[in-house]
């Protein structure tokens, strides 16, 4: 089961989106969240430590979500970090690329709190 106190990093270049996702998380009882505006900044924060879970957008300047995912998987200390990828439409090639880069799950925008909960629960049930 997912721990309600786990620290979640929300990564998106659009501030409104970060706020929306953090609000949805709060609604689900996850109040311990932080945010980053792109992959590069996210990686810095993750390397500083303390995070348990990452929700990242795909489409971002500097470092897109897929690159962030790949970087996480190659960085000691955070390589097993669960990552949920947010995509706009279910674009097949994107999902395939994300799965190959060992994403834990993906969610298509726009989504509701219930859908987000399903995805998070699925990830953490699998991890045990």
């Amino acid at each position: 089961m997912a721990d309600a106190n786990m620290k979640i990093l929300v990564v998106d270049d659009f501030a409104t989106m970060r706020k929306i996702i953090r609000n949805l998380l709060k609604e689900l009882g996850y109040g311990n969240t932080d945010e980053a505006e792109d992959g590069a900044r996210a990686l810095e924060k993750l390397e500083e430590g303390g995070f348990n879970f990452v929700i990242t957008d795909w489409n971002m300047p500097n470092m897109p979500g897929i690159e962030l995912l790949k970087a996480i998987r190659q960085t000691d200390g955070i390589k097993d970090m669960p990552v949920l990828m947010v995509t706009a439409e279910a674009e097949k090639e994107k999902v395939v690329a994300a799965v190959q880069a060992r994403v834990n799950n993906y969610v298509v925008k726009p989504f509701t709190a219930a859908v987000l909960k399903e995805k998070i629960d699925a990830i953490f049930d699998k991890l045990g």
């Binding site: 270049d13 409104t16 929306i20 609000n23 957008d57 489409n59 300047p61 925008k109």
Partner: protein, 573 residues
């Protein structure tokens, strides 16, 4: 989303602000893309912006916005993949879609609803533009003519489908939110911390001073603490001021698109060169210069730059250049609009002003060429015989001047026939801190904004004459209407003269208007922060606000513009 409604409101407000910011930079990218159609990096950037807005709009339930962003994104995606090539017509369609998105955002801001839905026809035009797409030729160059065959979206069809829309204009309503860089906020916070420390130190020293024995050491510590407080306060003032500063790019970004549209509809070729867009100005000043700049740039496109044929006949390149620039010079920001068009002829302006009754032939004869150019700022003046649909619906140059004067700015024109026109604004960095001349009139201390003080002269009370019941002073062969300063602010105190044998006259002016204020003492100048008068005293005629001087006295700050427009004082002009 089921967030509480006020939280939801906040998110929607942020969404609108953030989306509008992204769209502002988009216009510029579109214009750049038209010039450099193969630039995939630009297309990617534009695509990402539309995509992001669409994503957030989906969460917030703005389905109409999602719909139009989606079709736009599709066209952009085709451009990105090379299935479509950039043509002016495709750009027109995409730009129109952007305008609709902007309108929807502004409706969302006020009504929490997109308000409009793009007509079915418009959506079809956009989607036909993509379905009848002409594949980009492989490897080789693409001729414009070729691409017209299939993927064309005719401007006429667009006009028919979308009700005629104005060139995007600036939001009239003032925005109350400002997005501040965290670095700036941190700086302020840090300084406030310093300020608190200094205050604590002074308070402790103050309590020690209460001891009867004042030791030299305490005095020198007090001096130190005061010096420190002085330093921190000045820095804090600057830092807070900087929080209100925004790059002028916020205004400049809208112009490439505007010039593109105007030039296209006027059959002209114009390149807009923008520089100094990173220059920062107070938010209030930024909001005020938008309209004057729109008007000046319209004028340059409409009346300044000639048609390509005329330009070639005059031996100039067919493509005209309008340069828009901003830079900081000391405590001022200088903004320039310059074109390489036909310029203005002082004699033509004079005869036009005479025929419109703006001035008499005698007055015209006395005017220098430079003063003749300034005639365009007079109300009721326009050198264009035919009102075009570009500048015709705008405001007159007199309104431009008023707008700039309102924010304590100055305008200057330089023009040379055949070579072009340059209009220069000199604007204050901020409106928060002003320089005042401190004077005493009757029993009160007043402050007069230094920007409006023309000169000070010492007189004898008997130099003030009365002509037809009005007080005047003759200065250098000119009769200047005057009044006791305190009689303006407190009319019931009457026109008592001071008893002393000397009196000062402070000549104030806005534009060409002049007026003399009689005062008893001149105390010098000071930099102050103006406070509003509060509910009780609000609207006091002739008073703009109040401040406290270094020695703790309250000064009323004169509202020079209102003093000059009050009818009971005849003005020398």
């Amino acid at each position: 989303m089921s967030a509480p409604s006020n939280e939801m409101d906040e998110i929607i407000d942020e969404f609108v602000v953030e989306s509008e910011e992204s769209l502002e930079s988009l216009d510029q990218m579109f214009v750049a893309l038209e010039k450099d159609p193969g630039n995939t990096e630009l297309i990617n950037e534009i695509f990402r912006c539309a995509h992001t807005i669409k994503g957030a709009a989906g969460f917030l339930g703005f389905t109409k916005l999602v719909e139009i962003a989606h079709v736009t994104e599709d066209v952009l995606n085709k451009l990105r993949k090379g299935d479509l090539v950039v043509t002016e017509d495709i750009m027109d369609a995409v730009l129109k879609a952007m305008d609709i998105i902007k309108e929807m955002l502004s409706n969302i801001k006020t009504k929490r609803d997109e308000g409009i839905s793009p007509s079915i026809e418009f959506m079809q035009i956009i989607s036909e533009g993509k379905s009848a797409a002409v594949p980009a030729a492989e490897g080789g160059e693409v001729e414009k003519e070729d691409t017209k065959a299939g993927g064309e979206v005719s401007p006429e069809a667009l006009e028919a489908a979308v009700e005629k829309r104005e060139v995007p204009s600036f939001h009239k309503e003032k925005e109350h939110n400002i997005r501040v860089d965290i670095v700036k906020l941190d700086e302020v916070l840090n300084l406030v911390g310093e300020l608190v420390l200094s205050r604590n130190r002074l308070m402790r020293l103050g309590s020690q001073l209460n001891d009867t024995r004042i030791e030299e050491e305490i005095v020198s510590h007090t001096d130190e603490a005061i010096a420190q407080l002085d330093l921190v306060t000045s820095d804090l003032q600057l830092a807070v001021m900087k929080m209100r500063m925004q790059p002028i790019a916020k205004v400049f970004n809208k112009f490439p698109r505007m010039v593109r549209d105007l030039a296209r509809s006027g059959g002209k070729e114009i390149e807009l060169k923008v520089s100094g867009e990173e220059t920062e100005l107070d938010k209030t000043v930024i909001e005020e210069i938008g309209d004057p700049l729109i008007h000046l740039i319209r004028n340059s496109v409409d009346h300044g730059v000639e048609s390509p044929a005329e330009r070639e006949a005059a031996g100039k390149p067919a493509c005209g250049v309008i340069s828009l620039s901003a830079s900081q010079e000391g405590q001022n920001i200088v903004v320039c609009v310059e074109d390489d068009g036909k310029g203005m002829d002082p004699e033509g302006i004079k005869s036009s002003a005479i025929s419109k009754g703006v001035i008499t032939p005698e007055e015209a004869a006395k005017l220098s060429p430079k003063d003749a150019l300034d005639l365009i700022f007079r109300p009721g003046f326009s050198t264009v015989k035919q009102v075009s649909d570009i500048s015709g619906r705008g405001v007159g140059m007199d309104v431009v001047k008023t707008g700039i004067t309102n924010i304590n700015g100055l305008i200057n024109i330089e023009s040379e026939v055949g070579r072009g026109t340059k209009i220069i604004f000199r604007l204050p960095l901020t409106l928060a801190i002003i320089q005042i001349l401190i004077v005493k009139a009757g029993s009160e201390i007043y402050g007069i904004p230094l920007a409006n003080v023309i000169e000070n002269i010492r007189l004898h009370p008997e130099d003030v004459k009365t002509i037809r019941g009005r007080e005047v002073v003759r200065i250098r062969e000119r009769v200047l209407p005057v009044a006791r300063l305190e009689s303006i602010v407190r009319p019931r105190t009457g026109m008592q003269r001071g008893k002393s044998d000397k009196i000062y006259i402070v000549i104030i002016g806005v534009g060409e208007k002049r007026f003399g204020l009689l005062v008893d003492e001149l105390y010098g100048q000071e930099e102050i922060v103006m406070k509003s008068m509060g509910e009780y005293m609000k609207g006091t005629e002739g008073v703009a606000g109040a401040s406290i001087t270094g020695d703790g006295k309250v000064v009323l700050i004169l509202d020079v513009a209102s003093v000059l427009t009050v009818r009971r004082f005849p003005l020398a002009s």
